[in-house]
């Protein structure tokens, strides 16, 4: 529901509904004025004028004349425009009247009196819009004109208006909902395709509806972009594979030459040769790590996502590093649940955790403690590795996952600066989060992984 209110199409639909209701109200107001207010105003003007006229007649010509004029006025000329009146003497005697009743008290302003007329056995509804005047001698004169039709119309209009607005709102909101669902669905299809590409399936494309609408045009453009990206990516990949191949073969030959030079007698190996061999091993490690990172980042690692137990993987990694830790008098503690299942690539996770442990063992203060905490957080699994050792600057903490980055304090220790890059690539492959906090000599690395894979990302990347 929250998503619905946040969707642009729904908000547009609501805005549109508001505008529509506003214009409807305006239209209604105009119609109301034309059909009800104005005719009523006309009747009021007429009644006021007649009252003033009758008042003059009374003042100038007296009661009798007035009564005659009133009766003459009340004689129906046509069925529609009925005139009503009542002339009541100061003592309450009705001198002349065609109204069935009137208010007992003198009223100021206009009021309506029900004045139904029985004609030839039928009843005709009239409503006399009336106004009255009391002459100085106490005589009451009520003058009215029929406004039944207009008043009825006014009543009906006022009663219909809220219902009409409610109906329009209902239609607009449900229309908006349907519209946002339809548009949301199209957008979701595009996002899903984008996620597939991000997940490493470079050949994935946005499905085209075929209707040639705006979304189809967008999909088409996106597909052109994806195609171009794929071509570029492929060429980069071919180049990097070739580089790897081209570097590895000469490396093999150099190793072969070194081997041949020392084949007859191991004692022939000079320190120069040994050094060369060590440097070659280093170079090999760097090439391997760089290529591996590129493969994982590019989603080309043929990863097997399956249900694995993170706790077991952590225990195995700890077991691997325990002898090395013991050598530096480090203790490794593991806290957390005995099992923590999640969908992941176990080899990659093991690689990531062993890289982190390798760093922790390498950079910890001799005799200190390496704390590993494993936590279950709803649909996520959190792994934290704490250690105390070489200070990492806060600025450095943000850079540690960059290729070949090495902290200032660690530059004397062996390493290529690729260990954490690989960890970051693995975590990214799992759509997880990697955070490195540095506080003086205290370093905390946290990995948060989703326990379940989104369906489309678990499929194998297309080669």
């Amino acid at each position: 529901m929250k998503n619905l209110f946040r969707s642009l199409s729904f908000r547009l639909a609501v805005t549109y509904a508001a505008l529509f209701c506003g214009s409807l109200a305006l239209l209604f107001a105009a119609f109301f004025w034309l059909a009800a207010s104005r005719p009523l105003g006309a009747v009021r003007t007429q009644v006021s004028a007649e009252l003033a006229e009758m008042e003059t007649v009374y003042a100038e010509e007296g009661m009798r004349e007035l009564a005659e004029r009133l009766e003459a006025r009340a004689r129906p000329t046509s069925g529609v425009d009925r005139a009503f009146h009542a002339l009541i003497a100061a003592d309450g005697t009705v001198i002349t009247s065609n109204l069935p009743s009137w208010p007992s008290q003198v009223q100021t302003g206009f009021y309506s009196i029900e004045a139904d007329v029985y004609l030839e056995g039928g009843e005709i509804d009239f409503s006399a819009l009336s106004r009255e005047r009391q002459f100085p001698d106490g005589t009451r004169l009520i003058v009215g004109r029929d406004a039944e039709v207009v008043e009825d119309r006014q009543e009906v209009l006022l009663a219909t208006f809220p219902v009409l607005i409610a109906l329009v709102l209902l239609l607009a909101v449900s229309g908006g909902y349907l519209m946002s669902r339809a548009i949301g669905h199209r957008i979701e299809v595009i996002s899903a395709a984008a996620r597939r590409v991000m997940g490493g399936r470079l050949a994935a494309r946005v499905p085209v509806h075929g209707s040639g609408d705006d979304f189809d045009r967008l999909s088409h453009t996106l597909n052109l972009m994806l195609e171009q990206n794929e071509v570029l990516f492929e060429s980069v990949r071919r180049v990097s594979d070739n580089i790897a191949h081209e570097l590895r073969t000469p490396l093999s030959r150099v190793l072969a030459v070194l081997d041949d030079a020392t084949a007859d007698d191991a004692a022939d190996e000079t320190s120069v040769m040994r050094e060369a061999r060590e440097e070659l091993a280093r170079l090999q490690a760097i090439i391997n790590a760089t290529l591996r990172i590129a493969r994982i980042e590019g989603g080309r690692h043929d990863s097997g996502f399956a249900a694995v137990d993170l706790a077991t993987i952590v225990r195995d990694a700890v077991e691997l590093y325990e002898p090395a830790a013991a050598l530096r008098h480090l203790k490794i503690s593991v806290e957390g649940p005995a099992t923590l299942s999640l969908s992941a690539d176990r080899d990659l996770l093991f690689q990531a955790i062993s890289n982190l442990l390798d760093n922790a063992v390498k950079y910890s203060l001799g005799g200190s403690m390496i704390g590993i905490t494993l936590r279950e957080e709803d649909d996520r699994a959190r792994l934290e590795i704490d250690n105390e050792g070489l200070p990492l600057l806060a600025a450095e903490a943000e850079q540690v996952t960059e290729r070949f980055f090495r902290g200032a304090a660690a530059s004397d220790l062996p390493g290529h600066g690729l260990g954490l890059t690989l960890v970051a690539a693995i975590v990214q492959r799992h759509e997880g989060e990697l955070k490195v906090h540095a506080n003086g000599g205290h370093t905390k690395v946290a990995i948060v992984l989703r326990r379940r894979r989104p369906a489309d990302a678990s499929t194998k990347p297309q080669e």
């Binding site: 590895r248 073969t249 093999s252 084949a263 077991e319």
Partner: protein, 223 residues
């Protein structure tokens, strides 16, 4: 032993053939996939060293053709594709071992030796012996001179691997592949500490550890 080497890089092939011959093997070399495939189907070898990427016929195709005829000759794949998952692919396709380029000759020799031995039927009785060391692989119990030695499961695995290959060098990467149930690249020589612990545990009553370090190659228990 009769070894077939299928490798397109002449310099590397010459070096590998040379190294194998020096270790007493008879080597036949094929320069491309087509010749390799012909050799494989016409002659019988103890071990085949096969490059993955070859001109004409790909190494993986040769491997598939070999396995399709129920030929169980051990195959050591060598490849410039060194990533861990490439190794898994190679092994899944029927390779018995996988060695990424560049490699040290000692690593290749060690692997060829172990593969050649594997061809001979191994009787798994559940008991392994070496000198005064007895291993019950089912109960996972190790005794030396009748005295029980407590090992971690990985130390046990390392010892079994070394005892099974007595007289042959077992390299660090071979130990990692066989004893740890994960495909990964350790950043440091993490195996050494485990071997060192294993050695200490085997040194009872002043007896020396039988595990030798072979410089630049790996470890070995001499017969």
């Amino acid at each position: 032993m009769q070894i077939l080497l299928i490798e397109d890089d002449d310099a590397l092939a010459a070096h590998v053939a040379n190294g194998l011959r020096q270790s007493g093997h008879v080597v036949t070399h094929c320069r491309d996939g087509r010749h390799g495939l012909m050799q494989v189907s016409s002659e019988s070898y103890d071990v085949i060293v096969l490059d993955r990427m070859l001109p004409h016929v790909d190494g993986m195709k040769i491997l598939a053709a070999l396995r399709a005829t129920d030929d169980e000759t051990p195959v050591l794949l060598i490849s410039a594709l060194g990533d861990v998952d490439e190794r898994v692919k190679g092994l899944r396709a029927g390779g018995d071992d996988y060695l990424p380029k560049p490699f040290a000759m000692s690593e290749l020799l060690a692997r060829v030796d172990v593969l050649a031995r594997r061809k001979a039927p191994v009787v798994e009785s559940g008991f392994l012996h070496h000198a005064d060391i007895e291993i019950d692989t089912l109960a996972r119990i190790v005794r030396r001179a009748g005295q029980r030695i407590e090992l971690t499961s990985r130390e046990f695995g390392l010892l079994v691997e070394l005892v099974r290959n007595v007289g042959r060098v077992v390299t660090r990467s071979m130990l990692l592949e066989r004893v740890w149930d994960y495909n990964f690249d350790p950043q440091t020589n993490i195996i050494d500490q485990h071997i060192s612990n294993l050695r200490k545990k085997l040194e009872i009553e002043g007896r020396a550890s039988p595990i030798q370090t072979v410089r630049g190659a790996g470890y070995m228990i001499t017969p």
